[in-house]
Symmetry: C2
Subunit: 162 residues, 2 copies
């Protein structure tokens, strides 16, 4: 019970900052965990986190893995300490944007092949069936969707080039 006031303030920041992280597509717990590590500003163990956030160690393990996969936190080694230590990346803007863009690019990549495959099927139909006329609108839409994906990719490429 040494500094209730400053702890209160830290908690307030934690709550608000958590909302920010959630906007990048992370779950509430993942977001709170990252916010906690970011504010702590020093490597923490799973037990530290579990106690601080009042959640199970298992939840910490899975959440921290997600964050690590997205490169928002990194594991840290400290001599004499057996437990895994994790700390948050400090370059917020870069880390979060890259994480978000990677999610997009990965999803877009999978979808691109699906769309191209569908396009191919349409072409085959057009050759064989005469009554495709009504389906032209669908084809138009598909091409617009593909174009949209291209625009998104271009946008992200530009943003990366800082």
């Amino acid at each position: 019970m040494n500094k209730p006031q400053s702890e209160h303030i830290t908690n307030k920041i934690l709550v608000e900052f958590t909302k920010t992280i959630e906007m990048f597509g992370f779950t509430p717990l993942e977001s709170r965990l990252f916010a906690y590590l970011y504010l702590a500003d020093k490597p923490m163990t799973l037990d530290d986190m579990a106690e601080a956030l009042g959640k199970s160690k298992t939840a910490m393990s899975t959440s921290i893995r997600t964050l690590a996969d997205q490169n928002l936190v990194t594991r840290v080694w400290k001599k004499g300490v057996r437990k895994s230590l994790y700390k948050a990346h400090t370059q917020l803007f870069k880390a979060l944007m890259v994480s978000y863009m990677n999610k997009w690019v990965e999803a877009a990549h999978q979808q691109r092949s699906s769309f191209l495959e569908i396009e191919q099927q349409i072409k085959e139909m057009k050759a064989s069936e005469a009554e495709w006329i009504q389906g032209r609108q669908v084809e138009e839409r598909l091409l617009e969707i593909i174009e949209f994906h291209q625009e998104m990719e271009d946008l992200f490429r530009d943003m990366k080039g800082d």
Copy 2:
């Protein structure tokens, strides 16, 4: 049972495109609804949508409202038709980006005031309490978070200026 093949293709596009929309923070149903309207390419009633997606009319009502609030669909008037008609906006890139940016800006705006308020509290503490030294790190972090918000806002402003 006229064109099973082309319907199959339309459905495939629907499924894939739905995933795209989900990436912008919409629920599965909202996403599927928008994708459906987008591909249909003509105004549809709530009953049309409910039947096509196999969901309740209530679900359509709430979902379409969200989409309308985000300006992804608009209501359309047609003489002689009593039911409300809705159609999707066709400028995908613009519509989705604006929607996403607005969400961010709105959230950022609320958070900004929270953060500035917290900053004020810290300043007051610094004046009165001597043992704030340890809290400096937290203050540093807070300033970085505020800076991050600023960067995001700048980014979105730039993107809007096309």
